[in-house]
């Protein structure tokens, strides 16, 4: 199958699956079709790619060629844990089919190539999951047969101990690298492999349960293939083109969405285009799950796709390990997301919660592909931020990070948290305040507005009114600003150097940037859909009269606003939030709370509910009850 025909197939199946209610039997049937399509993009490839090799083994397609490709690929192992999981995945799919010589080459690689364990949660999930599976596969070997000098038993015990510890942390105080559209695959692949290939039934069960857990965590904040709300980590392309994220490939596989053709959106822009399975490294990662026997429970699918009733979902996560400039190792992260059939608006409380790639808030909607989002940020960077989370020396750290994430110190970047940013969300109303210290990198805030909005009205009332299909967004800047044409460079899209001075003026303007240079700043966001408020004209006329009252002096930044829903919101930077006269206590936020997912902090449990169905996960006893 060619990539082009695959795209067409993906669009067809994605569109069908997303727009039609279906029985679980139908779901499973469509799932198999999607999985088969993904596999077909790989199992005829002659590339020495671990994905192609795994697909060939799984499909029994020319095993001698798969063997040969495997041996070629293993001549130069590289990639650390990004090497470990596809190699063990390919091996586990082919170990009973491959030649003894190939088996020996694979075994030898785990002796001679020493992968770095990494420094993030997803690295460790991949490292220890695959090390666990490898140690099970080759039991009884002494340390001299392993890259780290530890015996099979030592590796097995260490990996098992870490995985159980990590599951406990995740189900008590939340993930540190939470809700990442681009790093969701790393967790999903790891748990998928564990759920299918662990020989220990308890570990296999843990893998299944965690896979359900992550899919539910994504699913409850999912809309047409997009992850919703605020995120711990996201790469720049996916921040303004949401379907480019790795998670969207998994939404396609598991939820039947992710690349749905928006009939109302009109012709797609020339670039960038959504990446279907088989076309990129990200979507390549969906290959191993597509080969797996894992299937999500019906309730997870329903939670992820039933958008008939708007709902508010709240959850608590944790900050990545703080190693400098803090007294608490994992302070809490509070997230809430309001989800409707047409849009989702979500936010984190603000501040520095993750280095480099934090996305504090967003509105994402179903219309207007590929730029289905509006958001804002203070593009901040500092060695202080990096030093909080990375052990290397502070001053050279920025240059070290920029070497691989070129947008980090770009004043035009679209990702990252800021210590000078805070949010206050009440369902579909969001207040954002900034009190930026003079001399900070940088002294402006930015807002992203898609160029393909149906409407973008700059109203004399001070409001900016936007229409994206049947979603209406109102943005009230608390300070004046300027509109800049947003050119998108290949460099920015790929996260290499895309600095303003390098922007080609020949690049077409695709979007808009609203920039304000005032240090004491903020905005009010209101989002409604046609079904919630009626016509766009009505939205405009009703909102036009609601003018926030703000105080914007250094050290004293606040806003007082009565929302379209008639809720009085008083917000003072950094953390005084009052709703209808009552102080909002974010610390009371549970691990999950909403109509579909509920969990108490510290519980090691998760309860899923959907209509009359209920499913309780108990990670202490490693049981699921319905």
């Amino acid at each position: 199958m060619t990539v082009r025909s695959l795209i067409i197939a993906v669009l067809l199946f994605g569109g069908l699956a997303a727009t039609r209610a279906q029985s679980h039997a139908d779901y499973l049937k469509h799932y198999s079709e999607r999985a088969r399509h993904i596999r077909s993009a790989f199992d005829t490839s002659t590339a020495a790619s671990y994905y192609a090799i795994a697909a060939r083994y799984a499909s029994n397609n020319n095993i001698p060629l798969a063997d040969s490709l495997f041996r070629v690929a293993l001549r130069e192992p590289r990639g650390d844990m990004f090497w470990m999981f596809p190699v063990i995945g390919a091996y586990l799919h082919g170990k009973d089919k491959m030649s003894p010589e190939t088996r020996a080459v694979v075994r030898n690689a785990w002796k001679t190539y020493a992968p770095y364990r990494g420094d993030t949660e997803n690295h460790w999930a991949m490292y220890y999951t695959t090390l666990y599976l490898a140690a099970e596969q080759w039991p009884g070997l002494p340390g001299s047969e392993w890259f780290n000098g530890k015996s099979s038993q030592e590796n097995l015990e260490e990996a098992r101990e870490y995985l159980i510890h990590w599951i406990r942390i995740t189900t008590t105080i939340g993930q540190g690298e939470f809700d990442s559209p681009d790093y969701f695959p790393e967790y999903a692949i790891s748990m998928c492999l564990l759920s299918e290939f662990a020989q220990d039934p308890l570990m296999r069960k843990r893998g299944q349960m965690m896979m359900d857990y992550f899919l539910a965590d994504f699913g409850v904040e999912h809309l047409n293939g997009q992850y919703l709300g605020g995120f711990s980590r996201i790469y720049q392309p996916a921040v303004f083109t949401p379907l480019l994220s790795g998670a969207s490939g998994f939404a396609y596989l598991y939820f039947g969405t992710g690349t749905e053709a928006e009939t109302s959106a009109g012709p797609l822009p020339e670039t960038p285009k959504a990446r279907p399975p088989g076309e990129s490294p990200w979507s390549g990662w969906v290959l191993l799950p597509s080969l797996s026997n894992y299937r999500p429970p019906e309730i997870v699918y329903n939670i992820a796709t039933d958008r008939t009733t708007p709902y508010l979902h709240k959850e608590r996560k944790r900050v990545r390990n703080v190693i400098r400039f803090g007294t608490e190792k994992n302070p809490p992260v509070y997230k809430q997301t309001y989800v409707t059939p047409e849009y989702g608006i979500g936010s984190l409380q603000g501040g520095l919660l993750q280095p480099i790639q934090q996305h504090t808030w967003s509105v994402r909607f179903t219309s207007g592909r590929p730029y289905t989002t509006i958001f804002g940020l203070h593009p901040y960077w500092s060695s202080y931020e990096l030093g909080m989370f990375f052990p290397e020396e502070l001053k050279p750290l920025i240059a070290d990070v920029v070497a691989s994430k070129g947008t980090y110190n770009n004043p035009d970047k679209w990702t990252g948290g800021s210590p000078y940013e805070r949010t206050f969300q009440n369902r579909n109303t969001l207040l954002v305040l900034y009190d930026i210290e003079p001399g900070t990198m940088t002294e402006h805030i930015d807002g992203f507005f898609p160029g393909n909005l149906n409407e973008r009205l700059i109203d004399s009332s001070g409001w900016i009114f936007c229409k994206a299909g049947s979603t209406y967004i109102g943005w009230y800047p608390l300070q004046e600003g300027e509109w800049l044409e947003e050119r998108e460079t290949p460099g920015q899209a790929k996260n290499v150097i895309g600095r303003p001075e390098n922007l080609s003026q020949k690049q077409p303007v695709r979007n808009w940037r609203f920039r304000s240079h005032k240090l004491q700043n903020g905005y009010v966001i209101e989002v409604r859909s046609e079904r919630e408020i009626g016509s766009f004209q009505k939205f405009v006329s009703v909102l036009r009269t609601r003018i926030p009252k703000a105080i914007l002096t250094p050290g004293k930044v606040s806003v007082d606003y009565t929302s379209l829903s008639k809720d009085r919101m008083k917000f003072a930077f950094p953390d005084s939030r009052i709703l209808n006269g009552k102080a909002v206590d974010l610390s009371a936020t549970k691990l999950f709370e909403g109509p579909f997912l509920n969990a108490e902090v510290g519980s090691e449990k998760l309860t899923m509910t959907y209509k009359g169905a209920k499913r309780v996960y108990d990670f202490r006893t490693v049981t699921v009850t319905e």
Partner: protein
């Protein structure tokens, strides 16, 4: 001489970094580096256990504390999942089974030759430990450089007491090779400090010093009044009056940020400097002129010369 190399080229997980890890060469004029042990591990520190005839080697690395008991022929990660990003290692000169490591999560100690590890951070105000140093002069005396100052332990890291150096971001500590009362410290943003009373009082040394962030300070083992220091875009400083005054010695340097320094104990004129990016530099005339020695494009965190 051993060099712990954190990274080469791209500083990103998953990038090919096969030449990271532990490099060594004979300090007798050898110019070829050899690599030993696992690569790709982000090696921050290295050490040889005193008295082991270079049989027992350590690499402090992202993956944990690596140990070789056979001169580098085979290696084992001796720590588990709960110890990571090991930034420094210091074996006890008097005890072949006792080793200290410093990490962003505190100090850890083994007393059974790395079979088991125990966290020993009692008394530390901040867990981020840039460097741990077992005193070669005083039994069970250990120093550590932390995010909120310099600490001393007199009971083998069971308990820690903050020394008189109260500035934040202490990056390194060095002890005079003969007089345990004399200590030097390099800091983030606060320059070079010295103490002559075992760390109770410290004095900032500013004469001739134009920079503030120092990652490395070292004494000449044979002529301890001679000292070298280096840090963030500092080039290399030299003092010949026990740290009272300093002079920059940058001839031949192509880079200015240095993380580690070492003086050959057999030849005081031979000095090595590990660059944050740019490999190792060597001087054959006490810092008068420097020559790049490789490994190329490498971030060298620690140099260690076995006496």
């Amino acid at each position: 001489m051993y060099a712990a190399v954190v990274a080469t080229k791209l500083f990103v997980v998953g990038a090919a970094n096969p030449q990271t890890g532990l490099h060594y060469q004979h300090p007798s004029g050898d110019t070829v580096w050899q690599h030993t042990g696992p690569n790709n591990i982000r090696a921050f520190g290295c050490a040889v256990h005193p008295g082991s005839q270079q049989r027992v080697l350590y690499i402090a690395a992202g993956n944990g504390l690596h140990k070789s008991s056979d001169g580098g022929a085979t290696w084992k990660v001796t720590t588990g999942w709960n110890i990571t990003e090991v930034l420094s290692v210091s074996p006890d000169p008097r005890d072949p089974l006792r080793v200290y490591i410093g990490t962003p999560y505190g100090v850890f100690r083994t007393t059974d030759g790395c079979a088991t590890w125990k966290e020993c951070s009692q008394g530390l105000g901040a867990r981020f430990v840039s460097l741990v140093l077992a005193s070669p002069l005083n039994d069970r005396e250990v120093y550590c450089a932390t995010e909120d100052g310099a600490y001393i332990s007199k009971d083998g890291a069971d308990t820690w007491t903050r020394m008189g150096l109260s500035v934040g971001g202490v990056r390194t500590i060095a002890q005079h090779p003969r007089n345990p009362q004399i200590l030097a410290a390099g800091t983030e943003d606060h320059g070079i400090y010295m103490s002559t009373n075992g760390g109770r009082w410290w004095t900032r040394r500013e004469a001739g010093v134009d920079h503030l962030t120092f990652y490395a300070v070292t004494f000449d083992p044979n002529a301890p009044d001679v000292m070298y220091a280096g840090g963030y875009v500092t080039g290399i400083y030299k003092s010949t009056d026990a740290g009272q005054s300093w002079k920059r010695m940058n001839k031949g340097l192509n880079v200015l940020t240095f993380h580690t320094l070492a003086v050959d104990p057999r030849n005081s004129q031979r000095v090595y400097a590990g660059a944050y990016w740019g490999g190792v530099y060597r001087s054959e005339n006490g810092g008068g002129e420097w020559t790049p020695l490789g490994p190329p494009d490498s971030q060298v965190w620690t140099l260690f010369i076995h006496p």
